[in-house]
Amino acid sequence: MVRKILGLTLLIGLCSTTAFAAVLINGAGATFPYPIYSKWFDVYHKMNPEIQFNYQSIGSGGGIKQITAKTVDFGASDGPMTQDQLNEAPGRIYHIPMVMGAVVITYNVEGLDKNLKFTPDVVADIFLDKITNWNDPRIAAANPGVRLPSGSILVVHRSDGSGTSYIFTDYLSSISSAWKAKVGKGTSVNWPVGLGGKGNEGVAGLIKQTPGSIGYVELSYAIKNDLDYAELENSSGHFIKPDLDSTAKAAQGVKIPDDFRVSLVNSSNPDAYPISGFTWVLIYKDMEDHVKGKAIVDFIKWAIHDGQAYTEDLLYAPLPAEVIEMIEKKLEQVKY
């Protein structure tokens, strides 16, 4: 009896093991582009049934760590690797931009009839625990005519190593010297205040569940979950609503370096949303496995061309044409 059960379960195990002998490519990293990546992988798998991309959204820090340790075939991050991190890696790592996205300030405040507006210093001070109540006069100053409720602000941030955090703290460091001195920028930072949520999913989940909360997530997480998000004053003094156009504008006029490691926050473009950025996949220049290497490069080629068509639905900004050209050249250098 016991033997029969054991035999049966073993049989199930073996069947499922052998029946799906396809190319499995493991990737891990950023949660920021996870919605579009999982869409891409799903569509791509339907077009090429023998290729499976298993992507775990564990955070950009995780993507950097796992690709450095070679425990995955590709990493993903929206914070570029530092020079130290690149030196530490056992091989040359390329950053390939896939899409552009915006990090939005999202909040859960009941009884508001329109989106709140924030100035950069207000955002910094909320996250520095200096502004702690929703009816603070400085929030009210930017929102004339909005009746702000009295209630404490609950800050929600990421608990994992995150590229979204990187873009956000990069922005805060660029607009607030107090932030730069006290906290700095990075995929994981020492948050002065707040709850930690795991991944963009976790932060969005916490904000949705918790009245009075404020946090930052990728635009698509806010829109897909009906979360309110703020208009933010950019470097030219305009209040900008984050959307595809204003995100895309952040890259206009920015010189893209050869290794693609560029920060797009606080763009000088007067119509650009200030917290925007590229999200990259991280691959080794010299791939060890021919089959996997080819599959990854083929996929990237597909994603930067046909794949960009899915960006609008999922609220990411497509790559500028000149960047796509640069990527193609870069991919030619990849050996597999």
């Binding site: 195990g13 093991t17 499995l24 298993n54 992507y55 795991k198």
Partner: protein
């Protein structure tokens, strides 16, 4: 005769007192003293206290049951309404798209459990038999102590251990590392239950075997183990039920997978991992699937537990028939 008996009683109470360290506290006079201090209060008051105590204590029990029923209620209501055919047959959909299922995670959990059994059962069984049949007192005590300590090590520590010895050298998250982490966690319980049940096999039974010239290993294999099999299987089942729902050791070993796993050396999906990532997500449909997953997971755990009580019942009947 009488004198001898009272001597025995004395000896016994002496023994007990040294073992417990509660030396004079339990003499008759002490009990009397302890009880009599209560008599300072009036009888009526004492009766009232006694009666209220019943309510207080049953309130505790009701509170515990309330928590349990609340959890089960939500699991059943939210879980059942979310279960459908797709849940068992489909792969997960891309983020944010409704529908899809967790077929790969259910199978993944079963495979992880098979690996765990293959690792945990031989070691646990072997150690248990050795402890009961061969070990010297001191060695046995040391191993027993180690298993007890091991039972209390937080599950996440086993995850780190499996990560350092399997994920880092193999350069890949894998079903194997997750299964081995779970398997190691099964060892202490299997060892202790096996030892306990093997020990319970009546000595005359062993002696009967040895008397006809059977070597000891044959006695163990053909008499001792078969006659305690029910109990041993119970131990295996109980430990299996315990690890079936473990999530922490899988976070950085099995890692999760959106597809069917391709080999034991590749990442694999697991139901507890899936529940975790769905539960903390903002998507309504994933919340729904998290409840459905939780219901399925708990059913798996309960079925394993039910099997174990069947085996323990069989074991009991076996020993009662010996008497």
């Amino acid at each position: 005769m009488n004198g001898r008996k009272s001597f025995k009683d004395d000896e016994f109470s002496f023994d007990m007192n040294t073992m417990t360290g509660i030396s004079s506290a339990w003499s008759e006079t002490k009990i009397k003293e302890r009880v009599l201090t209560q008599f300072n209060q009036t009888r009526a008051r004492r009766n009232i206290i006694n009666a209220t105590a019943v309510y207080g204590l049953s309130f505790c029990a009701i509170l515990v049951l309330f928590c349990l029923f609340n959890i089960i209620f939500h699991l059943l209501v939210q879980g059942f309404s979310s279960l459908n055919r797709d849940f068992f047959l489909q792969l997960p959909k891309p983020v944010g798209e409704p529908g899809g299922g967790t077929a790969n995670a259910i199978v993944g959990t079963l495979i992880l459990l098979i690996v765990a059994v293959l690792v945990g059962v031989p070691i646990g069984l072997g150690a248990g038999i050795y402890l009961s049949e061969y070990a010297h007192q001191r060695f046995a005590q040391a191993v027993r102590f180690t298993t007890d300590v091991m039972n209390g090590i937080p599950s996440i520590v086993f995850g780190i251990f499996a990560w350092t010895i399997l994920v880092v050298p193999f350069k890949s998250f894998s079903a194997l590392s997750g299964g081995i982490a779970l398997g190691i966690m099964m060892i202490p319980m299997i060892t202790r239950t096996t030892e306990g049940f093997v020990r319970m096999v009546p000595v005359p039974l062993r002696e009967a075997g040895l008397a006809i010239g059977t070597p000891k290993w044959r006695v163990i294999k053909d008499i001792v183990v078969p006659s305690s099999l029910g109990g041993i299987v119970t131990g295996i089942m109980v430990s299996l039920a315990r690890v079936a729902g473990e999530t922490a050791p899988l976070l950085f070993t099995a890692f999760g997978n959106h597809f069917w796993h391709s080999s034991l050396l590749a990442p694999i999906a697991a139901l507890p991992l899936q529940i975790f990532s769905y539960a903390i997500s903002p998507f309504e449909d994933w919340h729904r699937q998290a409840w459905a997953g939780a219901l399925v997971l708990i059913l798996i755990v309960f079925v394993i537990n039910l099997c174990s009580s069947y085996f323990v019942g069989r074991q009991r009947r076996m020993f009662s028939s010996h008497k």
